[in-house]
Amino acid sequence: MKSEIIFDGDNHKWIVLGRDPEKSEEVIDTNEYIIVSDGQACLLDPGGIEIFPQVLTEITRHISTDNIACIISSHQDPDISSSLAMWTDLCPNVKVYCSWIWTGFIAHFGMGTKLSLIGVPDEGMEIPIGASRSNIYLVPAHYCHSSGNFSTYDPKSEILFSGDIGAALIPPDYPMFVDDFDRHTKLMEKFHLRWMPSTNALKNWVKRVRMINPKMICPQHGAIFRGENVTKLLDWLDRLDVGKWDMGAEVTDLNKTVWMKWKKR
């Protein structure tokens, strides 16, 4: 697994982990982020159980695990939250945040550990990290894609962690930052059309993020947007019409045949 410092200034760091060559092909590639502020760390979407050992080992390059103070789970998917019990078991004092609607569901990943989560209200909240109490903000991103979903904004670095928004299905050796936006949209399009259920929710999120005006947008899959690519991403998202499942006449007819066959059984 690789890790790269994407922001470093004033005792405040952002580190991205990803592009794990050891993970099995069946497991979707994910980016994990760590914010380290005045020696205290916050993990953003720490990854699934399958990559837990790699993530944990890579984190040790940068911090002592004693310093992990909080974990934020943008939503409930297994590639984010199935490792939470391992983290809370290793760091018993860590505070884990996720949407209030998912706390009871994620607790099923307990694996013998009681998984106590802090339910984030729908409107979001601020979370202090580090001795200087730098605040990070949980920005509502409901229905983008999960019905209880948050992005994380850090005003100190002006970075927004967007979860699955801006995510792309990329080949293993893909660069960490988007270099050719138009080429990159090909890798994002299918993902968004299928995983994002609501155009309205997506447009509202874009509106909120334009007001925040981050310098970097970091998704959980794919590559990071910075500079002019941030605006390009927001414009692209604003134009997307998602939440459709238009299979076309041919597939519909085929489906009819299949359904009829099942009905006859």
């Binding site: 050992p53 944990l56 040790t60 002592s64 391992m86 078991d89 694996m111």
Partner: protein
């Protein structure tokens, strides 16, 4: 994953499968016992139709046989409960092992990275991460003399976590072992009833062989009784073998961690 950890995981998977087999086997005994009771009752009815002294002795023998399932019912119930606890214990163990594998892999990766940058001949394979004693002293090992403060803290924390999980697994394995012994004792008691059922079946067969040819329909029933007793014997033997195999695997696992 190191060879020793891989081996450990395979053995745990085996013992987990044994737990499920024992539970299923125990549950199937209940059905066999019910079949035996129904056949014995049928035997009483058939024997009553004969109406001779031979018929009377067959009624008595079939009566004994039909009582057996009733007698072993509480024991079967207890065996099922013990087997269910045993299977549950092994499931908890299997979950704990899954956690251990993740933590131990992280520790092993960390050790490998740290050793790569320090001038030492040690490798990650030189440390038995299944041994709580090794884990307890890991950070003080000469191989880690020159590591950074950050790496030292992480080694201490990971080793401590591995130690706790491996101790938990051992506790669970010891408990599973105790339950396994309990199940074996229950099974021995049920086996004795199995021998009695077999004996009764043989006596019914002998007694029915004296019946005249027009009463030979009884022999089909006796054959069924003999078959069901045979199935009961085989099932008891299978559970007994499973428990014995499980016992040897658990004993090996408990020893393996301290090798």
């Amino acid at each position: 994953m190191s060879l020793i950890t891989n081996n450990y995981m395979n053995e745990i998977s085996k013992v987990f499968a044994i737990g499920v087999d024992v539970l299923n086997g125990t549950r199937s005994l209940k059905n066999i016992s019910l079949d035996l009771k129904l056949l014995a009752i049928n035997g009483i009815v058939q024997a009553a139709k004969i109406g001779t002294n031979q018929g009377q002795s067959l009624i008595t023998l079939s009566g004994f046989l039909s009582d057996l399932p009733v007698q072993i019912a509480p024991e079967l119930e207890e065996l099922e409960q013990v087997s269910a606890q045993f299977a549950r214990q092994l499931t908890l163990c299997s979950i704990a092992v899954r956690r251990y594998l993740n933590y131990s892999e992280a520790l092993r990766n960390l050790i490998a990275r740290v050793l790569k940058y320090s001038r030492t001949a040690y490798t990650a394979d030189d440390f038995n991460l299944l041994d709580p004693k090794v884990l307890a002293k890991l950070a003080n090992h000469p191989a880690f003399k020159n590591v950074t403060q950050n790496d030292r803290e992480n080694i201490i924390r990971f080793a401590s976590k591995n130690q706790k999980v491996i101790e938990l697994i051992n506790d669970l394995l010891y408990d599973a072992h105790t339950l396994m012994n309990k199940a074996s004792k229950k099974l021995d008691s049920i086996k004795r009833n199995g021998f009695i059922a077999n004996y009764m079946g043989s006596n019914i067969l002998i007694e029915s062989s004296y019946l005249s040819s027009d009463q030979k329909s009884f022999s089909g029933l006796v054959e069924n009784i003999k078959n069901i007793v045979k199935i009961l014997d085989e099932q008891l033997m299978k559970i007994s073998e499973d428990l014995s195999y499980g016992d040897s695997v658990i004993t090996t696992l408990i020893k393996l961690k301290s090798k």
